[in-house]
Symmetry: C2
């Protein structure tokens, strides 16, 4: 009996893994090994852009922050903060600054993840030490890594609870205006937003297919990535995804290159350097 | 019977949550709500710096990359790659470049997570389009976020499988030399390393306590963070952690401010801007 249960569990793990990998790659990828609930949450990720109006349950925000704080932190500097926005008017104003994405307003919770070097600066000031190390591009990068991995832990946590979310990179369209709206002190900038809520079951999101692994994973040394045929195959896979979603069909390689073709394609973010300098970052 | 099982499961969830939160904060934080395996993995994170020599099981690297690729990607640009290093000689050379951290050599696997704008540049070239949008600081930030959240998904996945890891920010100490070692083309830079393996049970790692939530979580608007007493209390909590670990006791506020006091404290990374320009990044 125990053996039967173990075999069934393994079979169901095998089936689940095969299903998740097929969803993600839309091509054969046969991997051995274990399967578990956490892997199922991770591989089942989809960005949710349609939410029910229900608020997130009490304690959820704190739990997501506990998950976020559980992520690693470089030298334990903990150089990030998060603002939880639930007031509809503030969400609407932030949505207007972040490219008028309606799901920012629709989702009951909008988390704004901040690179926060201000806290360290204050502690340095209290101790009477210099904090010149903050004024380097490296420190912005370090802050960006720590903030991003914290936010990602929150994403994994919320998905394990049946909630959904979508990152809002548009929060970087107008960083100075966002800083004013959120009352940010110098040396603090919004890195990403995250709309959070219960997914609307009438508008289910799907798993987006990704590039084949041989485009992103290399052994020992970098090799030039996918050949033209591999990209064409991925373009076709993404078109089939778009078709299923009722989206306009468009090659990934065209979408991606359009998004990076020039300064104008950056949604105002081509002035990021000047804006960050204005917010007190050194960027040396 | 079913009710008893459900109650026991809930009780054990409650106990588990209380245990994990107490480990993480070393102060009372009473949260309601569900508990599950994924939350247990997330909140139980610890950085592992002592590994068994055993290789990671077959298929593990691919599974971690599938988890990484399942993280969100801004405009689906997928601007990252990862190099899996297992050869002892290459690990040793990378360790020498990254601050001589012995766990890089000891762990059977070293993953180097790369911001990769080269792939997009190549696709643009193949399509005959300009790729000037890559030459902005914004695009580096975007790449850093996408790379970091991908790496973090791999961390969560590997911990769910009983493996352990530690991020190596020291991989940014000498980015040009790392680029040569890994054969990176222009527009690609190592953002973080990740040593991966089975934790050595004879040198167990502990959960590092973090700042109290009121230092990092704000509602609606930013408020100035913890007062001096809160920082002093956290310094004491971290000292008790250090004592348990047999580490030298030192206030967090002193450690943290020492780490950012000036350019010399950045382990050579104060030249990041010039180095990235040399690697082909625009940073406009």
């Amino acid at each position: 009996m125990t053996q039967t249960i173990a075999r069934n569990a393994r079979d169901s793990g095998d089936a689940r893994r095969a299903f998740r990998l097929a969803e993600r790659y839309r091509e054969a990828l046969d991997l051995p090994g274990e399967w578990n609930e956490t892997l199922d949450v991770l591989l089942g990720h989809r960005s949710v852009r349609a939410f029910l109006p229900d608020a997130v349950p009490p304690g959820t925000i704190e739990l997501l922050v506990a998950a976020a704080q559980s992520a690693a932190s470089s030298s334990n500097l903990q150089p990030w903060s998060v603002v939880a926005v639930e007031q509809p008017e503030r969400k609407a104003r932030l949505a207007a600054l972040a490219g008028e994405q309606k799901h920012i307003v629709q989702a009951p919770l909008f988390l704004v993840w901040l690179i926060d070097l201000h806290r360290l600066e204050r502690i340095g000031a209290a101790r009477g030490t210099t904090t010149g190390g903050l004024d380097y591009l490296e420190t912005l990068l370090l802050g960006s890594v720590d903030t991003a991995i914290a936010a990602q832990n929150a994403v994994v946590a919320l998905e394990s609870l049946g909630l959904g979310s979508v990152y809002i990179g548009g929060i970087r369209n107008k960083p100075a205006e966002v800083a004013r709206e959120l009352g940010l002190p110098p040396h603090v900038v919004a890195l990403v937003g995250l709309s959070v809520g219960f997914p609307d079951p009438d508008a289910p999101a799907s798993v987006k297919p990704r590039l084949p692994q041989n485009a992103v994973l290399f052994r020992e040394q970098y090799r030039h990535g996918p050949n033209a045929a591999a990209i064409t195959a991925y373009d076709a896979r993404l078109r089939s995804f778009q078709r299923e979603q009722g989206m306009v069909e468009r090659d990934w390689s065209e979408q991606a290159t359009t998004r990076i073709r020039n300064a104008e394609a950056l949604s105002g973010r081509h002035v990021m350097r000047e804006t960050l300098l204005g917010l007190g970052f050194g960027l040396k």
